[in-house]
């Protein structure tokens, strides 16, 4: 039998202090994965509240309760925390938990470095947030912290720099860990082309982190030096240039956004096949698309700088349009996977389908700006805000929720409530579109981004109000999600090993897995070892059909 035998419960529960110490010092990738998820969702709540604050202020023209000074700090911290302390670490957390399981390994290649990578995160995140109690307030330069403005700002900016240096170091160490684990620790029979597609997405993300994140590390050091050591890298006086900051930032910044989406593509590419009952159509095509996008992402950065008048427009325009080609291939592959399948609309599948529908819009939005002449009209407006929320929320957050509902039983041994999940999904879908679709109109009507307030005679009032209503609907959907998680965690651990009739190795062990992951592995003869084993009758049917 390939399924691991269930463990007997201990007679007396562990003393509380010993359990806490265990969590603080663990090097087990599964516990570290859970720590990542808990940390990420904590910051999601903080940054989410910030979003509600901003939308409350912007619902109507005129300053209601958030001064310009406060608003500028809030939008800076919202963006920074969402990107670096929520989205990326959640994907890393899923990777930590599931990459070793999916490749049939015992743990990550460097378990102690893995623990270090995690603990740097809450320290870095708290450093960034601590700006709110610093003299002069939190960082207020936007998550992009353009020079020379960022050189004028107060102590909060230094805390922002320090926090990001820690978070960046953590992600680079983590990425090295993932790459070595994937290349060196796959179980016998698992060639690279039989590896789960989620592992490929983690590999591609990790390559991006290793090559792009150090660039922003250098930039942050230069920014700090300009602020405190008298250097002039980014100030126009004495030979420096604000454009240098933008080049350094966006050379990192564009690969960064792919770091935020690749693993979500991986999750969706796992879930769609399972709930269609068919293999992923064109596994090779997905791998090729991932690798092409990874490589091309280094060639597009200056499309963020079209309006500076200082970059080579045709080159970056064509590379930007080209990167949409492999991205489009992914859509066709997903559609072809669904085609003639037997679709089961469990909650993970709903979120995965929502991902496809929403990410399409975000992706198209982006290509709109790839033509520089068009970009001159909508750059730095709410069109851009709409675009990146469609790809990061409509895309990655829907993908994350898909992953949560899919893998929750494996991690905790309990199935999330389907009923609450449906409420969560529909409210999130409606709320999300109500919040961000109007921003397309606002952008076309000329509303710039990052403004704490707007005049009442610009024609922007209705769209802003709709957007705010949508934001609170999202908030409600998240409350329902939180209730679902809390109620479910109180239930006993009854989830089967394979509730969804999955394909990949994590479903070949108990829910949750034992500390050593597997008692025995099924034979690995394809990219779907658990599907094969189920077909051959060598593993018990899961309860998920």
């Amino acid at each position: 039998m390939a399924v691991t035998e269930a463990r007997p419960k201990p007679i007396a529960p562990e003393p509380y202090r010993r359990r806490v110490l265990e969590w603080l010092t663990t090097t087990d990738h599964k516990k570290i994965g859970i720590l990542y998820l808990v940390n990420s969702f904590s910051f999601f709540v903080i940054a989410g509240v910030m979003a509600l604050l901003m939308r409350s202020e912007l619902a109507q023209p005129g300053t209601q309760f958030l001064s310009a000074r406060a608003y500028n700090q809030v939008f800076t911290e919202h963006g920074t925390l969402m990107i670096f302390l929520f989205i990326f670490p959640t994907l890393a957390g899923f990777g930590n938990y599931f990459v070793p399981l999916q490749i049939g390994a015992l743990d990550m290649a460097f378990p102690r470095v893995n623990a270090l990578s995690f603990w740097l995160l809450p320290v870095g995140g708290l450093t960034i947030v601590s700006g709110f109690v610093a003299k002069g307030g939190a960082a207020a330069g936007g998550w992009t912290s353009f020079a020379p403005l960022s050189e004028q700002l107060g102590t909060g900016e230094d805390l922002w720099i320090a926090g990001l240096l820690l978070v960046g170091a953590a992600s680079i160490l983590g990425a090295i860990n993932f790459i070595v684990t994937i290349l060196r620790m796959r179980a016998p029979g698992m060639s690279m082309m039989r590896m789960p597609i989620f592992c490929w997405s983690t590999l591609a993300t990790s390559l991006l982190v290793v090559l792009a994140t150090p660039v922003i590390t250098a930039g942050l050091i230069m920014l700090f030096a300009d602020r405190h050591l008298g250097t002039t890298f980014f100030s126009a006086a004495k030979g420096g240039s604000p454009l240098y900051w933008q080049h350094v930032f966006w050379f990192f910044g564009h690969p960064e956004v792919y770091m935020l989406i690749l693993a979500a593509w991986g999750i969706v590419s796992e879930i769609l096949p399972v709930f269609s009952g068919k293999p992923l159509f064109g596994y090779r095509g997905v791998v090729l698309a991932f690798l092409l996008i990874t490589a091309l992402s280094f060639s597009v950065w200056a499309h963020h700088m079209f309006a500076t008048g200082a970059v080579e427009l045709p080159f970056f325009s064509i590379t930007t349009e080209m990167i949409s080609i492999p991205t489009g291939v992914l859509f066709f592959i997903w559609l072809a996977t669904l085609w003639k399948g037997k679709l089961r609309f469990e909650v993970p599948m709903l979120f995965a389908l929502g991902f496809v529908a929403m990410f399409l819009i975000g992706g198209i939005d982006g290509v709109w700006m790839a033509a520089p002449a068009m970009d001159f009209a909508i750059h730095d407006t709410y069109w851009v805000v709409a675009h990146f929320h469609y790809v990061l929320f409509g895309g990655t957050v829907f993908g994350i929720m898909a992953g949560i509902y899919y893998w929750f039983p494996k991690i905790t041994g309990r199935m999330l409530s389907r009923r609450l999940g449906l409420w969560h999904f529909w409210l999130q879908l409606v709320g999300f579109n109500l919040t961000f679709f109007p921003m397309h109109m606002l952008g076309l009507q000329g509303m710039p981004r990052r403004i704490a307030d707007y005049a009442p005679d610009r024609g922007w009032n209705t769209m802003n109000l709709l957007s705010t209503i949508g934001a609170f609907v999202i908030g409600l959907s998240m409350l329902i999600f939180a209730v679902n998680v809390i109620l479910t965690l109180r239930k006993p651990r009854t989830a089967p090993a394979d509730p969804w009739s999955g394909n990949t190795l994590e479903w070949a062990t108990t829910s949750p897995p034992p500390p050593h992951n597997f008692d025995r592995l099924p034979v690995i003869g394809s990219a779907r070892p658990v599907y094969d084993a189920r077909l051959a009758g060598t593993v018990a049917e899961g309860d998920g059909t």
Binding site: P111, I179, P214, I221, T231, F233, G240, F251
Partner: protein, 201 residues
Amino acid sequence: MSTAEMASDERAVRGTSSPVLGMVLFVASEAMFFAAFFAIYAMSYSSQPSWPPKDVTVPSIGVPSVMTGLIVASSFFLQLGVRAIRRGDGRRLSLWLATTLFLGAAFTALQLYGYSQIEFGIREGIYASLFYIMTGVALAHVAGGVVFLLLVLVRSATGHLTMVRHESAEAAAIYWHFVVVVSVALYVAFYLLASVHPKGP
């Protein structure tokens, strides 16, 4: 042995071990880190009418040349040590490690001496900014390499490294060679270029 060590044993026989692969990736990230600074250097070079700028007195090339020669030599000696441990000769490795460390220390001392001789301060424009930050950061990396090599020397001197298991020596060597390459690149950018082929009238 831990599970990670077991896994790495399995693959060490037929390819790069995990610690060495990890170090290669780390060095790749460090290369991108330095590349960012060099990119700013290149952009400044192309937008300034003269390089080094008119008001900058470039230090004489003597001390930097000696310094760079020493650290390049240290790479050769270190590699001799690595080849020694691949034959199982821990004693030779310790000898060559000590030599490398000595040369690294000499490099550091000369760099610090060099700083005291420089006529421009850090606040004097883009050239000064690049010079001090890039050489300073590189020196920090040399210091890190020295610490790493010292740890390996301790393990080697106490007999822990064998012909089959000496990944820390391999990894440290890769890191040190990288640091040497960066030192050479900085030598070219800030000393050789200024003396041999400065830009401008």
